[in-house]
């Protein structure tokens, strides 16, 4: 049973992807996407309810061989991409670095496998290892990822209509989208590091292909950037593989993690390098920001359930191995810095997707920070953040996509007063943002746990981490709330709200997601008990209890559900008895010069009517990318350098 479920989770998406590729008919393709979504969701849930964990599983050795071959094929394809671009467009950073990095990878891997390795291909028992952490990831990938794919069906229709494409490219789009999910499942299940590496590179491929999907010059540029930056991680991976095998003679991830020795730190640092390129930490955030040119479902997928989550998954996965080392402390500093830097940079952004991207980077930084603090409470925080962030961020991207297809703009300034124009989707978006931002929602409970864990951390660097943490979380509030403010800023009107038409393919996924965010936040105690606690418990002693559904650690206690009651009271009760009779409605205060009560205009020069404009605050001059980006990158590089120095010394 479990074996076939594992098989379905990994292989079925690949198969479904190929079917999508061949199908020219939109309806049929939609059907396949829909079907695979259902299959994947069912699989993950079945898996969760059936399995006993942790469990190891080794498929037949042909698979090892297949992956061995496919690995080189993949690298050959990357090389082809680089060379192709080189011959077409001449020397550019993008193709030179792609070619260089692929060659480094391929050559060192080949050297290792063909000359040093005792057998070919290297096999590991078990090849797949599934514990609760993998399971959580699998649930996220299958459920959220599938919902995003479903959303993509209609989105891509509209998208292509808007672009005016003659020949649809959706078959390629869904090929990569669905395959992505399979590759992700592969990553989270793999125990053989070579397998892990292969699936890792497949996600890089999917990511590259999806970013360049629209084939605009910008898209191509961004696609390449994603490719070569992730190839840096790939190099890190290969180095880690070689080093690990040299000192241990095995490539079983679990073996490495459960027997930490000081020699392990260097390969772990290289694995961490791979993790942080994948999760777009400063200074590698460039590719994720560039990825914003891709269609919205791609961004949603990259940010919530795939790609970047692979990075933090790996960081959390290997965290027990560097427990208590200086590497751990440095990782916390590094993550903390990204958390703060990205949050501050997000303030000056006016494009919706870029704000979301920075928010993702920032949150991933927080997860990495938790992995670095590396106490049970911190790991709990990390895992909960992975869950809740995936839900909320996937949701927010889908919402922004929907908004974009209504107002054809991604600029936050254009979203002023959107609650009146598109109440349904805007309401959901705001709820989604609140779930990222306010207690008692899951993200905030995690953040609470993170801060307490950081406060309790014994490391000498903890004041620095705390500094990053508090400034970062203050900045987070600023950029979210001012965006929410844009949505809410409406002109007084006597008319009631009119909902926009309901579109099942657009609205169902977001409604499911927001429902999920709320329900899971309320049910934080059972979620913790069923999912998070066993995941943490695989390698740590858990210290959190959920007595009377309070979230209680040794040093603090979070009472979530009473706050939900307060929230419900605050929302429901007043909306029952706050009545807005039309005759009570007055214009906003404009120093006495309003034109009409329901227009945002005032009288000014020569008694003319002027439009009231209320731009948001972006603090471009003080906190703009232009000013800070360089410095942040430099500091992050320095931290990274120190990290490696610390490991080597």
């Amino acid at each position: 049973m479990t074996a076939s479920l594992i098989g379905i989770a990994i292989l079925f998406p690949f198969a479904a992807g190929f079917v999508c590729l061949t199908l020219k008919n939109h309806k049929a393709r939609a059907g396949v996407v829909f079907l695979s979504a259902i299959v994947l969701i069912a699989t993950s849930i079945l898996f969760f309810s059936q399995g006993t964990f942790p469990l190891g599983y080794t498929p037949s050795h042909e698979w090892d061989m297949a992956i061995f071959v496919l690995d080189y094929l993949l690298m050959a394809y990357f090389l082809y991409l680089g060379l192709n671009d080189f011959f077409r467009n001449g020397i550019k950073i993008r193709n030179v670095s792609t070619i260089g990095l692929v060659l480094v990878q391929a050559i060192s891997l080949a050297l290792f496998e063909f000359s040093w390795a005792p057998e070919l291909p290297i096999t590991v028992e078990p090849a797949l290892f599934i514990d609760h952490l993998s399971l959580i990831m699998c649930l996220i990938i299958c459920i959220i990822g599938s919902l995003i794919c479903i959303y993509g069906i209609k989105y891509m229709q509209d998208h292509e209509k808007h672009l005016g494409l003659e020949k649809t490219k959706q078959n390629w789009f869904f090929f990569y989208m669905v395959m992505f999910l399979g590759a992700m499942n592969g990553i989270v299940f793999a125990n053989n590091i070579l397998w892990l590496y292969f699936f890792w590179e497949v996600t890089t491929l999917c990511c590259y292909a999806l970013i360049r999907h629209d084939e605009t010059p910008e898209a191509i540029e961004s696609g390449f950037r994603a490719l070569w930056m992730n190839l840096i991680g790939g190099v890190g991976f290969v180095v880690a593989i070689i080093l690990a095998f040299n000192s241990y003679g095995t490539l079983s991830l679990i073996t490495l993690i459960s027997n930490p020795t000081p020699f392990l730190l260097l390969p772990l640092a290289f694995l961490f390098l791979a993790a942080l390129t994948k999760s777009a930490q400063v200074p590698f955030q460039g590719w994720l920001l560039g990825a914003m040119v891709a269609p919205v479902p791609v961004s949603a997928l990259l940010h919530s359930s795939t790609m970047v989550k692979a990075g933090v998954y790996l960081a959390v996965r290997i965290a027990p191995a560097f427990w208590g080392t200086s590497l751990s402390a440095m990782i916390a500093v590094f993550g903390g810095f990204t958390f703060m830097a990205a949050a501050i940079l997000a303030i000056s952004q006016s494009e919706a997707k870029r704000v979301l991207a920075y928010s993702t980077i920032s949150n991933l930084g927080l997860i990495i920070l938790c992995a670095g603090i590396n106490t049970p409470l911190a790991i709990t925080a990390a895992i909960m953040l992975i869950i809740f962030h995936a839900i909320s961020k996937g949701l927010l991207f889908l919402c922004v996509g929907n908004i974009e297809h209504n107002i054809w703009s991604k600029n936050i300034e254009d979203m002023q007063g959107l609650v009146r124009r598109l109440p349904l989707i805007t309401g959901i978006t705001i709820a989604g943002m609140i779930s990222m931002l306010l207690a008692p929602f899951g993200v905030l409970i995690s953040k609470w746990a993170a801060i307490e864990a950081a406060g309790a951390s014994a490391s000498l660097l903890s004041p620095l981490i705390l500094l990053f943490l508090v400034i970062g979380s203050a900045a987070t509030t600023v950029f979210w709330v001012k965006w929410i403010g844009r949505f809410l800023s409406e002109v007084p009107s006597t008319e009631g709200l009119k909902m926009e038409p309901f579109s099942p393919l657009y609205h169902t996924p977001v409604m499911l997601l927001i429902g999920g965010a709320v329900v899971l936040s309320i049910l934080i105690a059972p979620v913790y008990n069923w999912l998070v606690s066993p995941a943490v418990g695989t390698f740590y002693l858990t210290t959190v209890s959920t007595q009377s559904w309070f979230f209680r650690s040794a040093i603090g206690c979070f009472v979530a559900w009473p706050l939900f009651i307060v929230l419900a009271a605050a929302l429901v009760v007043p909306s029952l008895f706050v009545k807005t009779k039309p005759e009570r409605i007055r214009a906003a205060y404009m120093c006495g010069e309003n034109v009409e009560y329901d227009t945002p205009q005032f009288r000014s020069v020569a008694d003319d009517k002027f439009e009231l404009q209320l731009g948001g605050v972006y603090l471009e001059e003080d906190l703009g990318e232009k000013k800070l980006d360089k410095w942040f990158k430099v500091i992050a590089l320095i931290i990274l350098l120190v990290l490696f120095v610390v490991v080597l010394v």
Partner: protein, 359 residues
């Protein structure tokens, strides 16, 4: 970049009077200002053609209630010039007395408003408390607290006797004590005040001259120009040196005014001690004919009255040129580039008075 365009006024707590600034900001930085004036235009110049010329004194006083005395003075001096009336010298000294009293209360009033505009409430309260002493002097000597109503064509209507002069000196001493103790040190030293005013709204000497700024706005930029140097009324006998600061920012303008308060105090004391005996007014008969330009220094700068008479009881034309009207262009140079929070401070630093600006 996101732009904010908002009305600042006409009803705005920073401005006691209605004026609108149409502000354009990026974040909170001002990138554009358009002043909208005309909210309290009453048409006084026209009404002045309808009234008997003597009654215009009372109308001119109410062009503005703060330096109302100066308006009446300027008008009376103009008519007197035109009609070749010799004003008794005691009256000239008394005019200086009330004029400087107005200046003191006007500057104090302004200082209080400035303090309020940057949220220094206790300073505002202290300043206005001290100002009440000046108003008491005004009421004691003229019968009105702020609109003295003491000018007539040919002299003044009220006299100050020995006893009253004594009292005035006492009250001024009291004022000086209060100002020295609690107001002056704060303004000279307080770092938060300096933070809000130093370097805010800089007007260079060249700009000030080019834009024809007047009064403390001009003197704060290093130009020694003051109508009192033309020695009207009794300034010749009393003697006068203008006060000049060179920094050209809001703080410099503040300092000019604060020093002028003390200067006025000295002038008042001098006027009281030097005052010759004699009549306070001459009887004026006849009707004004011809045209004349009369200029006096208001607290805010140069005030110009152009009066044209045609031999009837009504004037043919009265034209008033006021200091705020002359200073608004400089405001438009000072504001762009500043923070929204600085708008009140900079605007108030020219001491805008809309009432006479728009008449």
């Amino acid at each position: 970049m996101a732009r904010t365009v908002i009305p600042f006024g006409p009803q705005h707590p920073v401005f006691p009077e209605p004026i609108q600034l149409k502000l354009e900001c990026e974040d909170e930085r001002i990138v554009g200002v358009v002043p909208v004036i005309g909210y309290i235009s009453r048409g006084i110049e026209k009404a002045a053609e309808l009234n008997p010329f003597r009654n215009n004194i009372f109308l001119c006083e109410r062009v503005c209630g703060i330096c109302s005395f100066m308006h009446a003075l300027c008008y009376c001096q103009g008519i007197e010039d035109m009609m070749k009336v010799e004003v008794p010298s005691r009256a000239r000294f008394l005019r200086v007395f009330w004029a400087e009293l107005s200046r003191m209360h006007s500057h104090l009033l302004w200082l209080g408003l400035l303090a309020d505009s940057f949220g220094f409430e206790s300073l505002f309260m202290q300043v206005w408390r001290a100002r009440e002493i000046i108003l008491d002097i005004s009421e004691m000597t003229s019968g009105h607290r702020i609109i003295q109503s003491t000018n007539v064509i040919g002299g003044v209507r009220r006299d100050i006797d020995e006893e009253m002069a004594q009292k005035v000196e006492e009250m001024l001493a009291q004022f000086k004590e209060l100002a020295d103790r609690s107001i002056l040190p704060t303004i000279l030293n307080d770092p938060t005040i300096k933070e809000r005013t130093v370097g805010k709204g800089i007007l260079t000497k060249e700009q000030a001259e080019l834009l024809a700024a007047v009064g403390p706005t001009l003197r704060g930029s290093g130009v020694a120009s003051d109508m009192r140097m033309t020695e009207y009324a009794a300034y010749k006998e009393i003697g006068f040196e203008p006060i000049v600061e060179t920094a050209g920012d809001s703080y410099a303008r503040t300092l000019v005014r604060v020093k002028e308060i003390y200067q006025s105090l000295d002038i008042i004391l001098k006027a009281l001690s030097m005052m010759p005996e004699g009549d306070i007014a001459v009887r004026v008969t006849g009707r004004p004919e011809g045209e004349v330009v009369s200029r006096v220094e208001q607290p805010r700068g140069e005030l110009i009255y152009y009066v044209k008479g045609n031999g009837t009881a009504n004037l043919e034309r009265l034209k008033i040129g006021t200091p705020t009207f002359a200073n608004i262009p400089s405001l438009l140079v000072m504001l762009p580039g500043c923070e929204l929070a600085d708008v009140p401070v900079i605007t108030l630093s020219i001491d805008p008075c809309i009432a006479c600006c728009e008449r």
